[in-house]
Amino acid sequence: MDEKLLDIQDLSVWYKTYRGFAEVVDHINLYVGKGEKIGLVGESGCGKTTTMKMVMRTLDERGIKVGEGSKLLFGGEDILAMDAKALLDLRRRKISMISQSPMAALNPVFTIGQQMMDVLKYSGQFDKHDKKGMLDAARKAIDSVMIPDPDRILNSYPHQLSGGMRQRICIATSLLTPRQLLIADEPGTALDVTVQGQIHKLLRRLVEEEKRSLIMITHSLGVVRELVDRIYVMYAGNIVENCDTAELFKNPLHPYTQGLLACVPRLTGGGISAGIYGYIPSYVNPPKGCRFFNRCPHCTERCKQEKPGTYMAAENHAVSCFLYEDKGPAKERGDGHVE
C-alpha cells in the first residue's frame, strides 16, 4: 500500500446557522494515497464541498465549528494546526482545488490575466519582476487546457467567456504551479455533456501526466466510474461506503449506494427503478441513529436509535450499515479505511 498523502481522520464540521449548529460533516475518515485518484460521491448537500473546503481551510472560520479530535493530515502535518504561513505554503504548492461553480469562481472585475498573474506572483515560483516568465507560464497553462488564443483569453473578463472556458481556466489556474493533490469539485456539472466529457478527460490526463493525486467530487456515479480508482460514498455528512471502483459497481452493499445505482437511467433501457424518494435529514437536529433510516427499505428500530459502525463487509470494502455487522469486524476510529 502506498503512502497516504492526505489523511482525514474523524472530521466533523458544524456550520453556525441561526437555527443552531448544523453538523454537515459527521466524523468522516478518508484518505488519498500518493498518485491515487479517489472519488467522493453523494447527492447534493451531503457535505462534499464542505469537507474539501475544510482541507483547504477556506471556510470562514467564524461561521464554523470543527469537532474535537478532527485531524487533517497532509504529508503527516495537521492542516488544522497550521499557522497562516504554513497554510499559504500548503495552498501555494501542495494542494489546489477546482471550484464547483465556474461561473462564480472567477473574480468578475479582473481579467483572467490579472488573476493568473497574481496567483503566479505569490506562488513563490517566480521573481516578482519576472513578468515575462509569469506570462509564459500563464499562456502555457491555458494551452494545456486546450484553449486557443491564450493572449486574448488573458485579456478577457470572466463574463466574456463561456462556461466551458471558465471551467478550463479554473483548472488551468489551479495547475499553474505544480501540486501534489488536486481536488476537483464537480468540474463540469454546470456544463453540457459533450464539454463535461472533455473536461474529465483533460483532468485525467493532467493528473496522470504529473502523477498527482486526485479527489474527484461528484454526484454522478458514471463520472467516478470512468475516472477514479477508489470511491467514497457520502450521505448526509457520513461516509457510508468505501471500496474500489470496480467492486462498488459490481457489489454495492449499502442500501443507499444500491438505491443510487438503481436509479441511474440506463442507455440499454428497461425502465428506471423506483429510486429513493425523500430528502436528506436536517443537519441541525440530525437523527440519532443512522442518517439514512428514513429513506432506507431495510430500516429497523435499531437504525433509528443507534449509529452504525463501519464494517468490513469484504476485503477492501467498508460499509456503514447494520446489515453487514456480522459480515466483518467493526473498525476502530482511524481503521475505517481500506488498508
Binding site: 453540457d192 454526484h219 458514471g222 466510474r225 428506471i272 429513493i276
Partner: protein, 321 residues
C-alpha cells in the same frame, strides 16, 4: 393522418440582439408529434429546445413557420394568441421548479388558478378537484396549504406537474423536468410521468439533455443542434444506430455505470469544441466546426433532412455518400 397532434412546419424563432443581428434560437424546425407519443427532444444547452416549447405555447410571437395543433393553425400572423381550447389542452412544465411556483401562494391557490380560468369544475368543487389531482401525483392532501418555500425540489416539480394536469390536458411539454434534481428524486418523477401518461392518455414533448432518461421515457427522439434538428428516429433505432456525427458524439460522452451501457456508446468519435454562439451560426452545416468527418461540402452547403429508413431522418451529407 388524423393521428397527428402537433405539427411544426419550418418553425423559426429569432431574437434580435442589437442592430440587424439575431439569435437564431430556432431556425427552421419540422416536427410531428402523434397522439400518444413521447417525443424526446435532446440537445446541448442553448440549442433551442426550450425556445421551441415556448414558441409552441405562445410565449413568443414566432418569426416564421406554422404550428398546427389538432387542426388549429398558428402562424406569425396569429402572434401570441392561443385559443382557450389550446390553453386548456396544451400545458407546460418548466425547467426550474424553483421559479415555476409563486413563492407567495400556497399549493391550493397555485392549483386553483387553471381550474378557475378554464372553469373545469364548479367553484365549490375546486377543493375536491385539487385533492384528486394531488392524489394523482401521489402528494399527501396536507400539501394543499403548503407554500412552495417549505417543500423540496422534487415535490415542487410534482406540484408543477399537478398544475399541468388540472385542466385534463391532452398534451404536455416537459422542459427538462428533472435536470435540477438529484438522480434519486429524478427516478420518482420520471416514473410518475410514465404512469400519468398511461392513465390520462397524454402526449408528451419531453425535453432533456440526458440521453439515459430519454432512452427510458420516449418512443421517438429528436436531436437538436444550434436551432436545427439533426436527427429524428424511433428510440430503439436511435440507440441502436445513431447516424449523425453529433448524435454519436452525444452518446459517446455519457458517463455510464455499467458495462452493458458501455457497449452502446459509439467509440469512433471524440468530443471536441463547444457549441458556437447562435448569433454567429457557422455557414454550411452548422456542426462542421466540431465534426470529425467534415469535408469541403459541409462548410458550404447546409444539408437537408433525409429519411434513411421509415421514421428515421438525418440531416447530414454523409448519408448521401
Amino acid at each position: 393522418m388524423s393521428n397527428e397532434l402537433l405539427t411544426l412546419k419550418n418553425l423559426k424563432q429569432y431574437f434580435p440582439v442589437g442592430k440587424d443581428r439575431f439569435v437564431r434560437a430556432v431556425d427552421g424546425v419540422d416536427l410531428t408529434i402523434n397522439h400518444g407519443d413521447v417525443m424526446g427532444l435532446v440537445g446541448e444547452s442553448g440549442s433551442g429546445k426550450s425556445t421551441i416549447a415556448y414558441t409552441v405555447m405562445g410565449m413568443y410571437g414566432m418569426t416564421g413557420g406554422e404550428i398546427d395543433f389538432e387542426g388549429e393553425v398558428f402562424t406569425k400572423e396569429t402572434k401570441r394568441k392561443r385559443s382557450m381550447k389550446f390553453r386548456r389542452e396544451a400545458q407546460i412544465v418548466f425547467q426550474d421548479p424553483g421559479s415555476s411556483l409563486n413563492p407567495y401562494q400556497d399549493v391550493r391557490s397555485i392549483l386553483s388558478l387553471p381550474l378557475k380560468v378554464h372553469k373545469v369544475v364548479p367553484k365549490n368543487e375546486i377543493d375536491d378537484k385539487i385533492l384528486e389531482i394531488l392524489e394523482m401525483v401521489e402528494l399527501p392532501a396536507d400539501f394543499m396549504y403548503k407554500s412552495p418555500n417549505s417543500i423540496g425540489g422534487g415535490e415542487k416539480q410534482l406540484v408543477s406537474i399537478a398544475r399541468a394536469l388540472c385542466c385534463n390536458p391532452k398534451f404536455i411539454i416537459l422542459d427538462e423536468p428533472t435536470s435540477s434534481l438529484d438522480v434519486s428524486i429524478q427516478a420518482k418523477i420520471i416514473n410518475m410521468l410514465i404512469k400519468l401518461k398511461k392513465e390520462q392518455n397524454l402526449t408528451y414533448m419531453f425535453i432533456t439533455h440526458d440521453m439515459g432518461v430519454m432512452r427510458n421515457v420516449s418512443n421517438r427522439v429528436a436531436i437538436m443542434y444550434l436551432g436545427k434538428i439533426c436527427e429524428i428516429a424511433p428510440t430503439e433505432t436511435f440507440y441502436r444506430n445513431p447516424l449523425h456525427p453529433y448524435t454519436q458524439m452525444l452518446l459517446s460522452s455519457i458517463p455510464v455505470v455499467s458495462e452493458e451501457d458501455e457497449t452502446i456508446k459509439p467509440k469512433a468519435v471524440e468530443c471536441v469544441g463547444e457549441i458556437p454562439s447562435p448569433v454567429n451560426v457557422p455557414t454550411g452545416c452548422s456542426f462542421h466546426t466540431r465534426c470529425p468527418y467534415k469535408c469541403e461540402r459541409c462548410t458550404k452547403e447546409d444539408p437537408v433532412m433525409r429519411e434513411v429508413e421509415p421514421g428515421h431522418t438525418v440531416r447530414c451529407h454523409l448519408i448521401d455518400k
